[in-house]
């Protein structure tokens, strides 16, 4: 899976090089107008990160939690859109096996008008893996014309895998467009049957459908 992603077109940000403040928060400030997508990396099992967009910029953030990484990870990321006309993309995917546990806790704060944010977190859980997702879009009273979307989709490949998803909206402004959604489920039975009628084995079916599920993410990164 990982070889489908080509990090060379990303700007790699290794969070382990940042110095936390006394409360343990890491901080990243972005002010440059046009830039490459950012790939976040860390070896830490617990991260608290604040990302501030200080200018009208168009930026995408990616990170993934894969089989190769450590057993547990707890990420808490707050995105602050502090300038009008920002465009923010937040993309995360996870593929967890065995007893891996991952938590992604996101907050997207729209402080200024005419900003867009699009958050997509997608993943696959196998064996006894567990994941938690919470995503909150906050819209300040002065953040008119906010356009914010947030989605979390998970496929469970085993009965023992567990996912909890909590998308939330907190809106204090009228003229905004905000949507959120979450799905958790097994592979589509009709799609599986269709592949079966072409002679494709269970193992190969899962591989194909999981790859198809993540294709949206792969398209964005290649």
């Amino acid at each position: 899976m990982i070889n489908l992603i080509k990090p060379e077109q990303f700007e790699i940000y290794n969070l382990d090089w940042l110095k936390p403040d006394p409360e343990g928060w890491l901080r990243l400030d972005f002010a440059q107008a046009s830039r490459r997508p950012v790939w976040l990396q860390t070896q830490q099992s617990k991260i608290k990160l604040e990302v501030n967009l200080q200018q009208a910029i168009d930026i995408k953030f990616f990170w993934c939690q894969l089989i190769e990484t450590q057993k547990t990870q707890n990420l808490q990321i707050v995105f602050n859109l502090k300038h009008p006309n920002c465009r923010l993309g937040i993309y995360n995917f996870y593929y967890l096996v065995q007893q891996q546990q991952v938590s992604n806790q996101l907050k997207i704060n729209h402080w200024q008008p005419n900003c867009q944010s699009y958050t997509l977190s997608k993943g696959v859980l196998q064996d006894q893996a567990q994941a938690w997702f919470s995503g909150k879009i906050f819209v300040d009273p002065q953040a008119h014309q906010t356009d914010a979307k947030l989605a979390n989709h998970t496929i469970l490949l085993s009965d023992e895998a567990k996912m909890e998803s909590k998308p939330e909206l907190e809106i204090f402004c009228d003229d905004v467009k905000c949507t959120h959604g979450a799905t958790i489920g097994s592979l589509d039975k009709q799609q599986e049957f269709y592949l079966q009628t072409r002679g494709i084995s269970k193992e190969a079916r899962e591989e194909l459908l999981v790859l198809g599920f993540l294709q949206e993410f792969i398209n964005l990164t290649s």
Binding site: Q196, R198, I200, S201, L209, Q215
Partner: protein
């Protein structure tokens, strides 16, 4: 090739097919025609191996094997192909990756070496050209964002690549305008072979103006009420299904 003997099928305790008999020999084309609710789709589903349908009695033999003992994928690997009335959309999975998985499964089942990616791509491109489809068709996601006609052509492309012994095509003409029906029929004729049997299941006679069946059967109230040659098509066109009981 296919031998169905006194088949009885129910769905949720409701009897759909009963006393259904059919024999299809290698190379033959059989058309099964019938009104809505006659049991046409049930027949396809049972042959495909959909376990929502209960076979209460009867037997089905395919290429010398007891079909009802075989898993869905075993049936496909033995040379059975199902063309669906509503092909399932699989966004994110390209046709080439999908067919690669199917060809690899077939090679494994036949104890042949796995074909290389280049060989697979070459074969698919050749069939795409043979059927006159757009040259980049293999890059599309399986049935996603395709028109009704393209979905049916995608089914025929899969059939061309997988080279089945028996193809069961469920309403491959439904929902298509007359030009698309002609195109599907032209391509289907290209896929006829002396050792390949085809069962065309349809409500309307129009596709049979372009694909000549050897035998025509009328399916009504869950059983075959009339069988004959292509002349039966004209009779249905003239007087409808009400004449059969």
């Amino acid at each position: 090739m296919l031998f169905i003997n006194t088949l009885k099928v129910s769905v949720n305790q409701k009897l759909i097919l009963h006393n259904l008999n059919l024999t299809v020999l290698p190379g033959q084309i059989h058309a099964i025609m019938g009104p809505n609710g006659a049991g046409k789709s049930t027949l396809t589903a049972v042959l495909a191996g959909n376990d929502n349908y209960q076979v209460e009695a009867g037997e089905i033999w395919f290429a010398g094997q007891n079909l009802l003992d075989m898993e869905v994928e075993e049936r496909a690997l033995a040379g059975l192909f199902i063309g669906f009335q509503n092909p399932i959309e699989i966004p994110g999975v390209t046709l080439v990756n999908f067919l690669k998985a199917a060809l690899e499964a077939k090679a494994k089942a036949n104890h042949q070496p796995l074909p290389s990616t280049a060989e697979i791509l070459g074969l698919i491109k050749q069939k795409i050209e043979f059927l006159g489809l757009p040259s980049d068709f293999y890059k599309r996601y399986v049935n996603a964002n395709l028109s009704g006609g393209q979905k049916k052509l995608s089914e025929l492309l899969q059939m061309a690549v997988l080279e089945p012994k028996l193809a069961i095509l469920d309403e491959i003409d439904s929902g298509l305008d007359i030009d698309s029906v002609k195109l599907v029929a032209t391509n289907l004729n290209k896929l006829r072979a002396p050792d390949r049997s085809i069962i065309l299941i349809t409500h309307y006679q129009r596709i049979l103006n372009f694909v000549k069946p050897d035998f025509v059967h009328v399916l009504k109230h869950g059983t075959i009420v009339a069988s004959g040659g292509p002349e039966l098509v004209a009779q249905i066109e003239a007087k409808g299904y009400d004449q059969f009981n």
